[in-house]
Each structure stands twice: as C-alpha cells, then as structure tokens.
Symmetry: C2
Subunit: 343 residues, 2 copies
Amino acid sequence: MAAEASRTSEARRDAVFGRWVVFSPARSRRPTDLNPGAAAAAGAPKPSCPFCQGRESECAPEIFRVPAPPDASPWRIRVIENLYPALRRDAEPPAPEEAGEGEATPGERAVVGFGFHDVVIETPRHDVRLWDLDAAGVGDVLLAYARRVRQLMEHPAVKYVQVFKNHGASAGASMAHSHSQMLGTPFVPPSVTTRLNCMKEVFERLGKCSLCEFQSKDILVSETHNFSAIVPFAASYPFEIWIIPRQHSSYFHEIDKDMALDLGSLLRTMLAKLSKQLNDPPFNFMIHSAPFGVSSSCLPYTHWFLQIVPQLSLIGGFEIGSGCYINPVFPEDAAKILRELGC
Amino acid sequence: MAAEASRTSEARRDAVFGRWVVFSPARSRRPTDLNPGAAAAAGAPKPSCPFCQGRESECAPEIFRVPAPPDASPWRIRVIENLYPALRRDAEPPAPEEAGEGEATPGERAVVGFGFHDVVIETPRHDVRLWDLDAAGVGDVLLAYARRVRQLMEHPAVKYVQVFKNHGASAGASMAHSHSQMLGTPFVPPSVTTRLNCMKEVFERLGKCSLCEFQSKDILVSETHNFSAIVPFAASYPFEIWIIPRQHSSYFHEIDKDMALDLGSLLRTMLAKLSKQLNDPPFNFMIHSAPFGVSSSCLPYTHWFLQIVPQLSLIGGFEIGSGCYINPVFPEDAAKILRELGC
Ligand SMILES: Nc1ncnc2c1ncn2[C@@H]1O[C@H](COP(=O)(O)OP(=O)(O)O[C@H]2O[C@H](CO)[C@@H](O)[C@H](O)[C@H]2O)[C@@H](O)[C@H]1O
Ligand SMILES: Nc1ncnc2c1ncn2[C@@H]1O[C@H](COP(=O)(O)OP(=O)(O)O[C@H]2O[C@H](CO)[C@@H](O)[C@H](O)[C@H]2O)[C@@H](O)[C@H]1O
C-alpha cells in the first residue's frame, strides 16, 4: 500500500539562510478532493474519501485509534501513517556525527530523508468539522497528538515533532475530511531555532519568559482556568490567534486530561469565532513546543503555545524576501472584534 | 491624492520569533484588477489601469522617469510613490536610541511606521511583460532599481531596501500591469539578519563565502560573463532560481551599466524559461543585498543575488510552523529541465 518514490527523500540545509528543506518526489503523487478555487473544505460526504469510516483499508497503516462507545462507530479518532510521506520511517536515520560533515559546497548539508509523517483523522464522519465536536471531543484529539508525540520522542534520531492542521484548499489542504498531521524530523527546524534564540535573548536581557506575561488586556480574546487566547502584539496575519498556557510549560506533550479538556474548549470557541467572523475561512494551526532533549537551562524561557492563522490574503515578494509581514489589521482591533463575538 | 489611513502605520517586533511586522490599515483599501482565481496576470489592456501611459495623473507622485526616444511614448519606466504605502515617508523616523526601549511586554517593540514604499512601472504598455522587453530594456529596469536604492540609502533612518516583483494573482499581485516594488525599512528585516548570521557562520568556519563557489555543475542552468543562474542546492520551492554575480559583491545597488545589461539578459531568459516550462506561472522575485552601513568585516561574506520563486503550490501548516519547506522536485532535476529548454 505504501507509495514508492522513484527517488528517495532527502533533507538539505542551505548555506545562505540556514534553512532545512525536505525533497520528496513521492509527495507530488498525493490525491486531492479539494478544489484550489474553493474557499474552504466542504462538508458533503465523498464516496471516495479514504478517511471516512468503512474505508480504513484504503489508508496507510494505523498507529492507534481512540475507540468510541460500543453502540456508535468503531472509532472516534485514528492516527495513521501518511501514505505519501515527506520523510520516511524506513530510511536509515542520520548518524549523530553526520552533523557538519559531508559538505559538498561551503556550509551546505544533505541527509537521507528519515522521519515520521503521520495523519490524525479527527472524526469518522466526512461532514463534521473539528469545532463541531464538543470540548471533550476536541480535547481527545489534542490528547491523541500528545500521545503520538511521546511515542516519537522515544526515537533517538527524532529531534522535533511539528503538529499542524490545514483546513481549506487555500490553506494548503488536499483532503477535505477533518484531519491534522505531524512530522517528526531528524533536525530542529529553522523557525524553532529562531524562536528559541529570540526567547533566550529576551530571558537573558530581562530575566523573563516572553510568554509568561502580557501587559495589555487589549489583545486578550478569552481566558480559561489554564489558557489565554490572544491576538499577538505583532501578529503576522490578520486575526491570528495564540492560545498560551498561563502556567509556564515547555512541552505540549506533557498536557494531562484536564488541561486537554480546557484547551479543547478554548480551541473550539476560537475556531467557531473565526468561522463566524470570517465566513469559514481557510486556516492553519500549529503547535510550537520545545525540541526534545534540550538542556535544562533552556526550559525557563521555552513556553509552548498553539498558533491559529486564518489565510485571508496571499503574501508577496516583500514577505518572501524579507521575512517581514504586512498586516492591515491591528491586533487590538482584531481582538476586540473576536472578544465581542458571541459563540 | 494620498490615501489617508484612519490609523497610522506602525512597525512591531515580536518577542517570540523576533519578527518585525508592519501594521498598515491603509493597505486594505488598495484596488485590484486581478482575479485571485486566475493563474497569472493577463495582458488585455484595462481602460482603468493607472499604470498605463496617459493615466499618470491617477498615480501617486512620480520620483523619476526613464525617458524614451523622442518619437516613442513619453517614458519607458516610471518610479512612483505607492498610493497605499505600508510605510509612510511623512512619518517621524524612529530615533536611533529607540532601539530596545519602550518595551510594553518583555522583548516586544513598536515604532512608528516610517519608511518608503515605491512602485516601478516597467513599461508604459499594459500588454507587455518584463521578459517581453529586450535585454537592454530589462537592464534599464534593474538600473532604475539601483538608482532608487542609492537615493534611499542617503536617508539616515533607512536600514534596508527590499526590491521585489509580484507577477500573477497567486503570487500576491493586485495589479496586472508589469511593475515591481521596493520598501525602504527603518529596521533590518528578519530574513536579512538570518541570512547574514548564516553566511557569517559559514565564513568563520570554512573561510569561504557561501555564494562564491558551488561545486556541482548539476544545478547550473545558465551562465554569462558576470552571472550564474542556478537552482539552489536546497531550493525551498520547485523550480526556484538564483542569479548570482560570479565576482564577490555585497551590494546590488553598485551594479554598473554593463553588469545590468548582462543581468537583464539572463533574467529575461530565466523568466522566459519559467513561463514556457510552467505555462506562465505566477512568480515573485526578490533581490537580496546587504543592509546599509554594515561594518567592513561583514563584506567578505555578504554576496548579493536575485531569487526567482514560481508559485506552483500552496504552503501549509508544516512550513508556517517550522520554517522548513517540502519540495517535490529535486534541484538537479529542475536545473536539467530548465537547462535543456531552448528560449
Ligand atoms: N489513503 C491515505 N492514507 C494515508 N494518508 C493519506 C491518504 N491519502 C492522502 N493521504 C495524506 O493525507 C494528507 C492530507 O493532508 P493535508 O490536506 O493537510 O495537506 P497536504 O499534506 O496534502 O499538503 C499541504 O500541507 C503540506 C505540509 O504543510 C504542504 O507541504 C503542502 O504544500 C500543502 O498543500 C496528505 O499529506 C496525503 O499525503
Ligand atoms: N494609482 C496608484 N498609484 C500608485 N500606486 C498604486 C496605485 N494603485 C495601486 N497602487 C499600488 O500598486 C501596488 C501593486 O502591487 P502588487 O500588485 O505587486 O501587490 P500588492 O502590493 O498589492 O500586494 C502584494 O504584495 C505585498 C507585498 O509583498 C503583500 O503584502 C500583499 O499581501 C500582496 O498581495 C500596490 O501595492 C498598490 O498599493
């Protein structure tokens, strides 16, 4: 059942931006049931969707499932292998000493495309969106992420796991059925390194974690016992939302059942607010956590959070070239609108 | 004629990724004559296009023009102010000592949205694309960029000028008429800092500039006397091309007439190749140069280049979250296809 690449995956780091890029010819063969012109994922059941209940045999192997009550469907959540993986679990993991060696050209590096690429099917039903589930249902999806991250953490060559969700064609989704993904990489990705360096610099200069306090109530959208949802002070995207644990915590995968229920409730509300305010926009969300095995001196300034990004406009050459974004909506204005919206 | 923002622009740096973001409500009012569904900019003349010859009075003020021979149109290239600027030339430039001060929350920063945002109209004709011009014509556009960068460099508060072009709706373009833009910023943008740090690290470790040599002929697409066009070893995007001066050089704006003619010829060929191979794809190009006023110890490892990025697929949560890209096309394969394509 596994898709065979004519050429195997490879990860390369460039010597100008220091960025890692994953080369994966197999990816170009993945199917899509979403029309790139469509605003967002449509809910109408597709007879051919492999993520629907009853078509489990058309998927790549299951890793685990979250069972449903006996009288309902046979499962509520499935974590499966991605059939068109960017990184391959059967490749030889790069040896630790490979770092910095084998440079073809000054500063460049290539390693085999080892890694894990999984899909989390959030519901057996094609017409249910993540925020249609109740708080406990969303919490269970978050617990499934955390459980799989803990499994991947056991592998000595996995340095980071990026958990993310694509919803809607313009947010990159190729499958309409509600799902998310995670990629376990044999390197620490570029944005994670940048984030840690920036938070470290703030901590060393001011003695404070960047995410433990925020002065202004203007950017707060909602709060629960354990989490705050804000529009960040320097949001890159209009109506971007960060959900941040109120207690300092470095690793997402350490959340317990109560925290997951609380986060599930807040995430559900935020997605419902975005859907209502912006007319079911395409969006991505990403969980930003700490890399595995960082030194304990790093923990005081790493603080995990969940970032939600509605995709309302395209970026252009200025953003690609400079890494600087132009946002037409001030965070205080976006937060006010979202705060006042009943959901 | 200038668009008045209800609220003035502001630039903010976040304390987690260290990214600068420009907030500009005025931007949301800019018009578009491109349909986001369309693959690329269409050439059919629009009676309402302010960039066309004869409608100069509908544009924001002209900065300079490149005249045409007496019997032709009154101009060949116009450099004008952007009518919906992200940064405003009439704002108070941030004082140098503002750096690091005024932090509302640990590590965050806000400055007024001072800066320059200009548009380069590359031709008076609506139906002419940049690569329809001859090599000298493209060279003159490059010389116009360089001339305007040198003017902006004179302003003590401008730290960097990002030159870029958007072509086609999916590459972010809102205007179909062939044009490019530049933004002079009062800060060094995040990607520029990252690039300089990475090239510095390579230089200190290996004693070599990252862009002065590349070992493999496999990634070469074409060469002229002064420039090489390659698909970079770790290209983030399928069919991405970098045009690099063969002689070490830090600043784009120092190119002379001969270099500009040579670059114009190569850029023209590369854009024609992409258009032919990928069926007139939307694309962006960006010029990566050194910030103004860097110390002379920085010059040996900064090497300017022009990056061309066709926009063939959307990115998703993995790329937004991790900064790591998944590219289904190996650079060697893309380079071979582009090399063998006659244009
Ligand atoms: N029968 C089956 N069994 C198991 N898995 C199956 C399957 N059929 C399809 N799949 C997988 O399901 C996934 C669905 O993922 P999404 O819709 O979130 O976006 P996709 O990964 O395609 O690409 C988006 O996200 C990635 C990562 O951000 C970007 O690189 C890309 O440009 C963007 O379009 C695909 O990765 C696909 O390989
Ligand atoms: N009469 C007039 N006189 C002078 N100028 C006029 C004018 N009418 C329109 N303009 C300006 O012309 C420019 C045309 O630029 P592009 O088509 O390259 O993309 P735009 O800047 O709109 O946005 C794309 O590029 C930016 C920067 O990369 C991204 O932020 C954005 O998301 C993406 O859509 C606009 O900036 C507009 O303000």
